[in-house]
């Protein structure tokens, strides 16, 4: 019975909540193994140094210390480097330069917090004491910290001249130059996209176990994609072959990208578990998370928009320096290129675009995907520029957008930067956002604020994102190292309940509910009869995990393909029972029925018949009712929308208060609107955090100044408002559910809206992020 209360489109309360609200969730740090030892990592106190020697004798004397391993021990045991999974080519055709990245540093360290050894002991305290007792001889070298000048600084890695990983471009340079030559007006901005530190609330953790009897390694870890973790550990790092390596991601406390990557710590833990033949546990201290989780953003950009006098966009030119940090993290190279340059058309018909990106190394933590990953940076460039152009041409910021929007009848629309948007209606979301924001009433509200000695501003952001990563052959042709399809298995059990095994991974997204909604709707069974299993390479064949807002668009599509196979097989079984053909059988609301007759079988009856095949076409069909599907998307999906932020600034103190925040997003069809709204809320908060609060700061020596919650300003409940969230719908044209994905939109759209509002309030062209009250207060002074 497809149930309007629990099917597709219903705000079903989450199945997984029962365990989380009662404290019964099972995160990696909650897992203990009999006889386990504890790992504490030796981390570099210097941003750049050579290692003269590591004296572990005193550490090995500490009671309870079982072993002290260094990078050299891993190398000697044949453990390989941590690879980057995306090969970007420079504009001259050469491959990017990937410096060596041993899991534990061997003879040199390149950022503060880089692990170069691990102490393993019977207790955590003994491991800490052991780590204290290790004496390391560092020869400190000058650190390269400023990315804007990193190409002229000391060379960090021997094979990387000018510290340049690649020099990439996209778009038509000559056409863009011509557009600028013909322009009536050019708006330009210098932009720094501030470094962020992801800060999932659950610190990374790993429990490694080795079973000597079977030779099987089991790694419990905080991964967004356990199969990718297994693949990298098997194929590149070479801990063990995939057949003898099981990776389990149990409940994972948020990821936001930072748990996609394969890190040193779990690599060392699983390797050492094999060496010592005992389970080993590690959980990051938060200070370790700050130092050694991959960071996000960190671009320096010069951007220019060429316009005609009437505000028509003619050309866009963007040149960006992207900070890679000290090493290439798992997907680092793709973020400022294929997830950034390709988004520069935004929602607009800009005819000529050219993007140049130079990726440079610095002595800072590796930088990789963080919620939105390249798309927030692109949106920030485009939407700050558009707002700037509107101001300079004295146009209404909503009207300049409207004038340049790609129109509904332009789809499919091929952008000058390599994407083909399938569908959208950008004016619809803009109009709805203007309505919710009471744009008409803004001038009166501004006047009221000014009468009180305060400032008030409004800012827009009409963003687009490419999600549903990714069409495998497109990605592979652009340098990806893995296919980006997704898998699903729908296992109908004997008595009609269903076990769904997905390659997607949930670390807050609520797949146990939304995926169950999809299956219960498609098979016409109760949502209570559907259990979703994820995050265990021992239970699912393969999967690419969750990132890039891909789960419902790719994982949900795989799921749909699998249920279609179930229904098709069910029809054959029923046709055999009724001595007719399967094209004569309909399936609706969980009932198979013969057309133009009153004969029918329920889903549960068919399930039973397939496992107890007394009346079953065994000469044509295999018994059982379990189907798998792998779905490779035909295109990216293109969620888009308009966010509007209204901010009031205290005229005396510079404290900004977000008075209203409206987000109207087009995610295509929505499976669970409650969960989708929650995803948007969280993304908005992170986007606001980037604009007003968060900044990962290194000092000149390469020390992380913002290494704790005392120094890195996380958004708290009293920093953000309640949000107004709404949707418009243009269904995705190329996947079976018509869905686009919603996980990143908030973080992609919000930042530009906030900064457009703040600069509007202050009457300044630009302002550095984060726009803290101090930054704003100084600007108040200079703006008069």
């Amino acid at each position: 019975m497809a149930d309007t209360q629990t099917g597709i489109g219903a705000a079903v309360r989450r199945k997984e909540d029962a365990r989380f609200i009662t404290g019964a969730g099972r995160y990696t740090d909650d897992i203990d193994q009999a006889g386990q030892a504890y790992a504490v990592f030796l981390r570099s106190p210097h941003a750049r140094a050579t290692i003269g020697g590591i004296d572990r004798a005193a550490a090995l004397q500490v009671s309870g210390v079982a072993a002290v391993y260094t990078g050299a021990d891993l190398v000697a045991d044949g453990i390989g480097d941590l690879p980057c999974g995306w090969l970007v080519k420079s504009k001259d055709g050469s491959d990017m330069i990937q410096p060596p990245h041993p899991p534990l540093a061997v003879d040199r360290v390149n950022y503060v917090g880089e692990p170069y050894g691990v102490v393993i002991a019977d207790t955590l305290q003994a491991a800490r004491d052991g780590a204290e007792a290790v004496v390391t001889d560092f020869n400190e070298l000058p650190a390269v910290v400023d990315v804007a000048t990193a190409d002229q600084a000391d060379q960090i890695h021997e094979p990387v001249p000018n510290n340049q990983c690649y020099d990439w471009e996209l778009g038509d340079s000559a056409a863009t130059d011509a557009a600028f030559a013909a322009a009536d007006h050019v708006a330009s901005l210098d932009i720094v996209n501030n470094r962020l530190i992801p800060n999932a609330m659950e610190p990374r953790a790993a429990v490694g176990d080795y079973d000597a009897a079977s030779g099987v390694y089991t790694l419990y870890t905080t991964s967004q994609n356990p199969h990718l973790e297994r693949l990298v550990l098997a194929a590149f790092v070479q801990v063990a072959p995939e057949s003898r390596l099981r990776v389990v991601s149990p409940d994972v406390g948020g990821g936001f990208g930072s748990k996609i990557f394969v890190y040193a710590e779990e690599t060392a833990v699983i390797w050492a578990a094999g060496k010592l033949r005992r389970p080993i546990k590690w959980r990051a201290e938060r200070s370790e998370s700050f130092l050694a989780d991959a960071h996000g953003r960190d671009h320096v950009t010069k951007a220019e928009l060429a316009l005609s006098a009437d505000g028509t966009f003619l050309g866009l030119r963007v040149n960006t320096i992207a900070n890679m940090g000290a090493y290439l993290s798992t997907f680092a190279s793709s973020v400022p290129t294929y997830l950034y340059g390709t988004l520069m058309a935004g929602q607009y018909k800009t005819p000529a675009i050219h993007v140049g990106v130079r990726a440079l190394f610095t002595n800072t933590a590796p930088v990789d995907a963080y919620r939105g990953a390249g798309r927030p940076e692109a949106t920030y460039v485009v939407e700050r520029l558009v707002e700037t152009a509107a101001r300079e041409l004295s146009m209404d910021p909503s009207e300049i957008r409207r004038r340049n929007f790609i129109q509904p009848d332009d789809f499919p629309y091929e952008t000058p930067v390599a994407l083909t948007y399938d569908t959208g209606d950008y004016e619809a979301s803009l109009d709805k956002a203007l309505q919710h924001a009471d744009y008409q009433g803004f001038s009166a509200r501004r006047a009221a604020s000014e009468a009180n000695g305060n400032r008030r501003g409004i800012g827009f952001s009409s963003y687009i994102e490419a999600c549903g990563l990714a069409p495998s052959q497109v990605a592979l042709s652009l340098g990806a190292g893995v296919g980006l399809f997704e898998s699903a298995e729908v296992r109908v059990n004997v008595t009609g309940s269903v076990t769904v095994i997905t390659g997607s991974h949930s670390h807050g997204q609520g797949h146990e509910t939304t995926f169950a909604q999809v299956v219960s709707d498609q098979l016409g069974i109760s949502i209570d009869d559907v259990e979703v299993v994820h995050g265990d390479t021992g239970r699912s064949d393969y999967g690419l995990g969750t990132y890039g807002s891909r789960s419902i668009a790719v994982g949900g599509s795989a799921l749909t393909r699998a249920t279609e196979k179930i229904v098709a097989k069910g029809k054959k079984i029923v046709a055999h029972n009724f001595e007719t053909t399967d094209d004569n059988i309909d399936f609706e609301d969980g009932v198979f029925s013969e057309r133009e007759s009153n004969r029918s079988m329920t889903f549960a009856e068919v399930a039973f018949a397939s496992y107890v095949p007394a009346n079953f076409p065994l000469d044509e069909l295999e018994p059982g009712l379990s189907e798998k599907a792998f779905y490779d998307p035909g295109n990216f999906t293109y969620p888009a929308g308009t966010h509007v932020c209204e901010v009031e600034i205290d005229g005396e103190t510079g404290v900004p208060t977000i008075m209203a925040f409206v987000a109207v997003d087009d995610f295509g069809h929505v499976i669970n609107p409650m969960i989708v709204e929650g995803q948007v809320h969280g993304g908005l908060c992170q986007g606001i955090g980037q604009a007003l609060l968060e900044h990962g700061v290194y000092d000149e020596a390469g020390q992380l100044v913002t290494g704790s919650y005392m120094d890195y300003c996380m958004p708290r409940a009293d920093d953000v408002p309640s949000f107004t969230v709404d949707t418009t719908v243009t269904p995705c044209t190329h996947n079976p559910l018509g869905v686009k994905g919603c996980g990143e939109a908030g973080a992609i759209g919000a930042t530009a809206a906030v900064m457009n509002a703040v600069t509007d309030a202050l009457g300044v062209k630009s302002l550095a992020m984060p726009a803290t009250s101090e930054t704003i207060w100084k600007a108040l002074g200079s703006a008069g």
């Binding site: 309360r13 989380f20 609200i21 009662t22 404290g23 406390g253 809320h681 919650y709 309640s722």
Partner: protein, 152 residues
Amino acid sequence: MEVTLSVNGTSHTLDVPDNALLVEVLRERLGLTGTHVGCDTSQCGACVVHMDGRAVKSCTVLAGQADGADVTTIEGIGTADELHPMQEAFRECHALQCGFCTPGMIMAAIDLVQTNGNLDEQAVRDGLEGNLCRCTGYHNIVRAVLAARDNM
């Protein structure tokens, strides 16, 4: 040192190191892993429990300080079949996503409602300043606390 404390109504006498933290005793000695550790500076609030009826960050309480105390953790306020109104409100309002901050958030919110007569949205936001959530943007947490206020 030896400490005796009541946890979720059951008395425990334990021999613990002098520097043992309450959260370590709860998680590692008593297996109550619903109380989480999210930071090392007493900022995130994932470890909030009730000690003698008031919310405390259990990462900042020595086990010795809890000697003789009555401690309640997330496991002690309700069951799956009989949820505490705050737990029910968190589920109903979708006030959690990854669930990691949730136990501390619920325990802090219960204390906030119990000690505050006139909770409005701003008071809830101010009152939860010591609890970080990275998933929800706080929107639905605030809604949940206001909903539970009316049912507690």
